[in-house]
Amino acid sequence: MAEKIISVKNLGFGFGKKQILKNVSFDISEGDILAIIGPNGAGKTILIRSILGLNDNYTGDIVWHKKLETSYVPQKMSFEKGFPLTVKEFFLFEIGNDLNFWFPNKKKEDEIKQRLDDVKIGHLLNERLGDLSQGEMQRMLIARSLLENPKIIFFDEPAAGIDISTEETVYNLLYDLYKKLGLTMVMVSHELSVVYRFATKVVCLNKDLVCQGTPQEALTPETLQEVFGHHASVHRHINNLEHDHQ
């Protein structure tokens, strides 16, 4: 069995009287593609932010069994669109050293260009961050997350706000990277079709932990109804997927 990397035990989170998460326990093991699904406001983002140490305000335990190079692709970044900062400069925050930031050498520039080419946005090297489209921004953040050879990557809705065809490429891209680099991935998603196709393990949340396991075991019509409520498209969705799998 694959080695455990992270254990989440009895995690709870709330503010004021509002309880967002309670009794959430699961493990993340090496090589997992773990999908966290649930409706809006189910606490998916807060869950991965807690695991990443960006939110300390929880109850329960999060244990990292070993130290791993980690990276994070947030759902969105908040910054002033008109601020002068190029993609290259953004990457230089992490690549190379303090001096390289002011005087990047050819080698560093090629390295950045290569990373951008991997996600097919090499032409955006000298664009301002504020001028990127949402899809370009997502790709840029994915390229950035791979800079320092991470072993585990957390994606918060990697295809949010991207049109369907681009979304397809984003997930295919992630899957290729997963196979090529032997990564562990944790992603928040609300796309059930994606979860079925790519995830090795799924955690469904609706305040409580509703289900966990492989998508085929865990995502029964009953659990899906519990997660998403009465949702006409759920049944149709599952039927479609069953056809896909046949």
Binding site: R49, L52, G53, L54, T70, S71, Y72, P74, M77, F79, E80, G82, F83, P84, L85, T86, E89, F90, L92, F93, E94, D98, F101, W102, N126, R128, R144, E148
Partner: protein
């Protein structure tokens, strides 16, 4: 020109270099972090420091520095309290210290405290400013990418195991020292303008943060140098003069970049 004259001329140049280069560099980060009110907050607290040093007859510079450090600590502490917005904190606490400071400072000195002056700027002040400015400039330029990364994307920096809190505290401290060293010349009301305007001017046309930083410092130096020359010629108070020069450069750049954009 004999040595004594040369020495006398070197002080205005030193103070121009110190303030003109370091404050706009701080301004780049202030704009990046969208915390334009921060320098005002520090200036308000320092005003109280000046008031208390006049009341208790302590060295003014000591009062300024102690209260600058105090301001840095108080702001860093309050910023951690998520449910109090920074603008609300400034609206309540720091204007209180402005009010208290204004009452304590004798009326004949009040105008100079607000608008700055050249007369009581001692050689010691200038030398201290030079040292502080060098400290600010070297720290911010050498560790630029970490200060910029933690300001721009604190979450991503934190996941990369960078101590975001540390950079934030050091930045607030450098900002406080910057305000402290400029406050005698430019005055408490106008000091934040010297931090913001040159950086805002550079932002009008810059495409990269590195270019913006370079131009901010050039505009800052120009503002202080031209401002001091005008002050000496017209016998006007230095604070408003420097800021008006700086604002003049801003509007000129604004018009030029607008024309340039239209034609391209």
């Amino acid at each position: 020109m004999n040595w004594l004259e040369l020495l006398n001329n070197i002080y205005p140049i030193l103070i121009s270099l110190s303030l003109g280069l370091s404050l706009p560099l701080i301004g780049v980060f202030v704009i990046l972090r969208r915390e334009a009110l921060l320098s005002d907050a520090v200036a308000h607290i320092i005003l109280l420091g000046i008031a208390l040093s006049i009341t208790f007859k302590i060295n003014a510079l000591l009062g300024i520095l102690v209260f600058a450090l105090l301001a840095g600590l108080v702001i860093s502490y309050l910023k951690g309290k998520a449910n109090l917005g920074l603008d609300a904190i400034i609206g309540v606490f720091f204007t209180t210290s402005l009010a208290l400071g204004s009452l304590l400072i004798p009326s004949e000195e009040l105008l100079e405290t607000f608008l700055g002056g050249v007369e009581n700027l001692t050689r010691g002040d200038v030398l201290l400013s030079t040292v502080l400015a060098a400290l600010i400039i070297i720290t911010l330029l050498v560790k630029f990418r970490s200060f910029a990364f933690t300001s721009f994307a604190p979450d991503l920096a934190k996941v990369d195991k960078i101590n975001v809190k540390k950079y934030e505290m050091v930045f607030v401290l450098l900002l406080s020292l910057g305000v402290a060293m400029g406050i005698k010349l430019v005055g408490t009301l106008l000091i934040s303008a010297l931090i913001i305007i040159p950086a805002a001017t550079a932002k009008l046309f810059s495409f990269q943060i590195r270019t913006m930083t370079g131009w901010s410092m050039i505009f800052g130096l120009l503002s202080v140098l031209l401002g001091l020359v005008t002050t000496t010629t017209l016998q006007s108070p230095p604070g408003p003069t420097i800021i008006l020069v700086s604002a003049g450069i801003f509007f000129l750049t604004f018009v030029l970049t607008s024309i340039f954009r239209k034609h391209h």
